[in-house]
């Protein structure tokens, strides 16, 4: 009950969309798939679900090779595609029954009822999908992915368009599903990754730039500390860089008589005192000094803005 992706390569014409990516998603864990638009997240998901072929590489879905036995592999996967395509003219119950029939579920009505209960759709079951709000449509998309009780769930931005209450409910649902299934989800919301995911794979330009547990990634990046420092006059960036333990400096804000700099330092030594001394020595007034914590958003930005 896992997804194993090995050396996956995908070309769109001459453009290399995926450049030999490898990762493993394990049972009982939620793997967050992150990356800027065009990084290759959806392409990877489409290849894992058998919708697109790869140029090379291997994918095993619960031990089944997607290229060799696509039908068997697809029967093990529940997939919520990007933009959540649905049939607006169908009733919710009718649609879920239709999906259950495709999976050859023995009692399709029971199966539809179970997923409607799980996704909070029971009260809406006799409504047409086209009449639903975006949040409820998202639930229908998630419900169809749960039909047939698949071992593996692949969810492409499952919480997009949900209001905060719905967001919380769907996150709780994904969290509970993640305890017994292998869940691979893509999202742009960093808090979601921190809240839901055990493991994070960050893609950039078709390459994996990080693949670890959320806590390990946070720990690695916490070795660098960012200070936001505000002076009354402009300073020479090279002079600051020469201070011990300063890794990088850049001007991030300028308003009237205030110049704000972002200064990155290594974690070993506190540099605030040195910054204060620097201001005195250079006849600058230190208007503000703030130590900021690194969060996953910054890690994402620093890994993907290259």
């Amino acid at each position: 009950m896992s997804i194993v992706v090995q050396d996956l390569v995908k070309f769109y014409g001459k453009h290399k969309a995926l450049d030999s990516i490898s990762f493993t998603a394990e049972k009982g864990k939620i793997l967050g798939f992150l990356g800027p638009n065009g990084a290759g997240k959806s392409t990877t998901m489409k290849i894992i679900t058998g919708y697109l072929p790869s140029n090379s590489g291997k994918i095993l879905v619960s031990g089944v090779n997607i290229e060799e036995d696509s039908l068997k592999a697809r029967s093990l996967i529940g997939y919520l595609p990007e933009n959540n395509p649905l049939y607006p003219d169908m009733y919710i119950q009718e649609f879920l029954g239709f999906i259950a029939e495709i999976y050859k579920v023995k009692n399709k009505n029971n199966s539809a009822q179970r997923v409607m209960e799980e996704t909070g759709l029971m009260g809406m079951r006799n409504k047409k999908i086209g009449q639903l709000s975006k949040g409820y449509k998202q639930r229908v998309g998630l419900a169809q992915a749960l039909i047939g009780n698949p071992e593996i769930l692949i969810l492409d931005e499952p919480t997009s368009g949900l209001d905060p209450n719905q967001l919380n409910e769907i996150r709780q649902l994904i969290l509970s599903l993640g305890k017994e299934k292998t869940v691979l989800l893509s999202t742009h919301i960093m808090q979601e990754v921190q809240f839901l995911c055990d493991q994070v794979v960050i893609l950039n330009k078709g390459k994996i730039v990080a693949n670890d547990s959320v806590s390990s990634i946070m720990k690695d990046f916490s070795s660098r500390i960012e200070y936001l420092v505000e002076f009354n006059l402009e300073i020479d960036l090279d002079e600051i860089k020469r201070l011990e333990n300063v890794l990088d400096v850049k001007l991030v804000g300028k308003s009237g008589d205030s110049f704000t700099y972002s200064i990155l330092s290594s974690q070993e030594e506190e540099i605030r005192e040195k910054l204060f001394d620097f201001a005195v020595k250079k006849n600058r007034i230190l208007l503000g000094l703030k130590k900021t914590d690194t969060d996953l958003t910054e890690i994402f930005q620093s890994l993907t803005q290259s």
Binding site: K46, T49, G50, Y51, L52, P53, L71, K72, R74, S75, I77, Y79, P81, N83, P85, L86, Y87, P88, D89, E94, F98, I99, E101, I102, Y103, K104, Q144
Partner: protein, 242 residues
């Protein structure tokens, strides 16, 4: 396949497509056969359904592409094709499920026309004085022609996410396959191959079957045309993998 077939049948009946297609078909053929004096059977004096079997393919040229145009283009436009193709379904399940649903609509449109046959049997003098073999042969020919048009329409629907393109290309290709080869054979440049060209068209085989003589070449032709365009549809579905 059964799931797709049932969904399409219910969609067609639910959105009244099937009913509208049947009513249009019966209205057009009914008007020409019984009402308009130039073509009315009542004015002709012969107990023959030939007028109906001459007219029906031309109405199918528009009605069948109108039925098939949404089958794949709508799935493409809504993105639901991605849902279906990532489920445990073979491409053939999808294609044949949709194809057979159109054939059911075709039968729904054709069955009420048996009333015309019954009326002519009753009106014949003496009663029942009608070429039954030719009528049943023509019905079979019309059904096989409908099968061919349906596969052409399904193929054209798979070409684009636009239903209009699906309809126009379907109607044009059905027209070309029905009568186009016959017209091309009349061009002096192709006169050497005229009989081969005529035999490539649907019309020649339809007329042959309509005479009431079942020729395996005609049957094979219709089966081949349907299979060929269903196979082309599969190729289009697979083109995402190229």
């Amino acid at each position: 396949m059964l799931a797709i077939f049932k969904r399409e049948i219910f969609t067609n009946l639910g959105t009244l497509t099937g009913l509208v297609v049947s009513i249009l078909f019966l209205t057009i053929t009914g008007l020409f056969l019984w009402v308009f004096p130039e073509s009315s059977l009542l004015e002709g004096g012969y107990a023959s359904l030939q007028g109906f079997f001459d007219l029906a393919p031309w109405t199918f040229l528009f009605l069948i592409p109108a039925t098939t145009m949404r089958l794949f283009s709508e799935e493409k436009r809504n993105g639901t094709l991605e849902i279906l193709l990532t489920k445990p379904l073979r491409d053939w399940d999808l294609i044949l499920g949709k194809y057979f649903s159109v054939l059911v609509l075709l039968l729904i449109a054709l069955i009420p026309t048996l009333f015309y046959y019954y009326t002519l049997v009753e009106l014949g003098f003496p009663r029942g004085n009608i070429d039954h073999g030719a009528v049943w042969g023509s019905y079979l020919g019309l059904f096989l022609l409908g099968c061919s048009f349906s596969s052409i329409g399904l193929f054209c629907s798979s070409l684009s996410s636009s239903q209009i393109i699906g309809f126009l290309s379907g109607a044009a290709l059905c027209f070309l396959c029905f009568t186009g080869f016959d017209s091309i054979s009349k061009i002096p440049l192709f006169s050497y191959w005229d009989s081969s060209l005529i035999n490539l068209g649907i019309q020649a085989h339809y007329e042959s079957i309509s005479r009431g003589v079942l020729d395996t070449r005609d049957l094979l032709y219709f089966i081949s045309i349907s299979t060929l365009f269903l196979y082309f549809t599969k190729l289009i579905l697979e083109s995402r993998k190229w």
